[in-house]
């Protein structure tokens, strides 16, 4: 009788532990699950926007068409415009992805699994910039904007101040 009782106790022991710590598990486990989902969610934005924007601050993510050869590794060229025609280096693997489909699972997987640099190209550098930012925020790195307007952010005119005709102050 006592052997049976002690065996029963041994089987119930894990349940006892669980019951004792149920409240701790009930709070810590969902938190752990949510954190894991958030951290490893392939299609979601990653934590800390600044970290994923860093290459944009110093222009290291911009590359001219002629300079793409300086990038190491197999390149994946993602063309965003349907209308783009041009001769790009044939050593790159080229895909055409409409910007509206850039966050689709298969496209994100393609970019994530690619081992070398990813080049985004559009005739509109503004569009490339927006798409770059969105993709970077999902945690994909080693991604560049390939542009024929590498001097886009250089001021090209000249401002001539006019100190002769002064403004009128009306009170």
């Amino acid at each position: 009788m006592t052997v049976v009782a002690s065996n029963l106790q041994k089987r119930n022991y894990p349940m006892k532990i669980l019951k004792k710590y149920i409240i701790v598990i009930a709070i810590a486990l969902p938190a752990l699950i949510l954190i894991t989902i958030k951290t490893f969610n392939a299609a979601g934005f990653k934590y800390d926007a600044k970290r994923w924007s860093i290459p944009s601050f110093n222009g290291s993510n911009l590359v001219s068409i002629s300079d793409t050869g300086k990038l190491q590794g197999d390149k994946l060229l993602v063309i965003l415009d349907k209308e783009t025609e041009g001769e790009f280096m044939t050593s790159a693997h080229i895909v055409m992805i409409p910007p509206g489909a850039i966050l689709e699972k298969q496209h994100l997987r393609l970019m994530r699994e690619h081992k070398g640099p990813i080049l985004l190209f559009s005739a509109d550098p503004g569009l490339s910039a927006r798409v770059w930012m969105i993709i970077s925020q999902t945690g994909i790195t080693n991604i560049y904007i390939m542009t024929s307007h590498i001097d886009n952010e250089i001021f090209k005119s000249r401002f001539r101040p006019d100190t002769v005709t002064g403004p009128e102050f009306t009170n």
Binding site: A31, L34, I35, K38, F45, Y47
Partner: protein, 200 residues
């Protein structure tokens, strides 16, 4: 309600109402924890009652853990949470004055108001003393200005100063808090004053 209002735009009156409700909850919590009793409060100094340590530290840690989790999920904008600026000299002298006042008066500003709301006469006098002190500070400010604004260290956080990650700091703080509560319990046994603690 700055941090959450980056998610939902709330009208000003609603933000004020939420602040009012939070303040009410805080006062309620202070009173039901027994912090309107000056004997309970100074028990922290004499060692026979460490409730203050436990309640405030637990509140701080719950807020810390909660806010970090919310921030991780993008529900709270932590950069909008105000971090007090650290003036080293002023903090030390102010801390000494405040500590002395706390022990002598038996209240700190928040608990003083909590005691005032239940009609305690010593809390009325304490509050008057507090307003007088603030008034005197204002009047003498030109004389102490240089000292008050000296040794400015900026809005410094401990984890930044120590060079450890925020998450690690939080964990160490929680472990330290658990240790302090345990030491506090030992102190309560050692410095027990049955005549006072029985009354509270």
């Amino acid at each position: 309600m700055g941090p959450i209002s980056s998610l939902i735009t709330m009208p000003g009156w609603l933000e004020m109402l939420i602040a009012l409700l939070i303040g009410t909850g805080f006062g309620f919590a202070l009173e039901q924890a027994g912090f309107s009793s000056s004997r309970k409060l100074v028990g922290m100094f004499y060692g026979y009652d460490t409730t203050v340590l436990k309640v405030f530290f637990t509140a701080a840690i719950v807020a810390l853990v909660g806010s970090q989790f919310l921030s991780y999920f993008g529900l709270l904008n932590l950069s909008q949470v105000y971090v007090n600026e650290y003036y080293a000299g002023a903090s030390i002298i102010g801390g000494i004055i405040m500590g002395a006042g706390f022990i002598m008066g038996g209240y700190c500003p928040g608990t003083g108001l909590s005691a005032l709301s239940i009609g305690k006469i010593d809390a009325v006098v304490f509050a008057l003393g507090g307003f007088t002190g603030a008034f005197l500070f204002g009047e003498t400010y030109p004389l102490i200005q240089n000292f008050a604004n000296g040794s400015y260290k900026g809005a410094e956080k401990i984890d930044e100063a120590l060079g450890i990650s925020t998450g690690l700091f939080i964990f160490l703080l929680i472990v330290a808090a658990a240790g302090m509560f345990w030491i506090g319990e030992l102190a309560e046994k050692k410095f027990a004053r049955p005549d006072i603690t029985g009354e509270i």
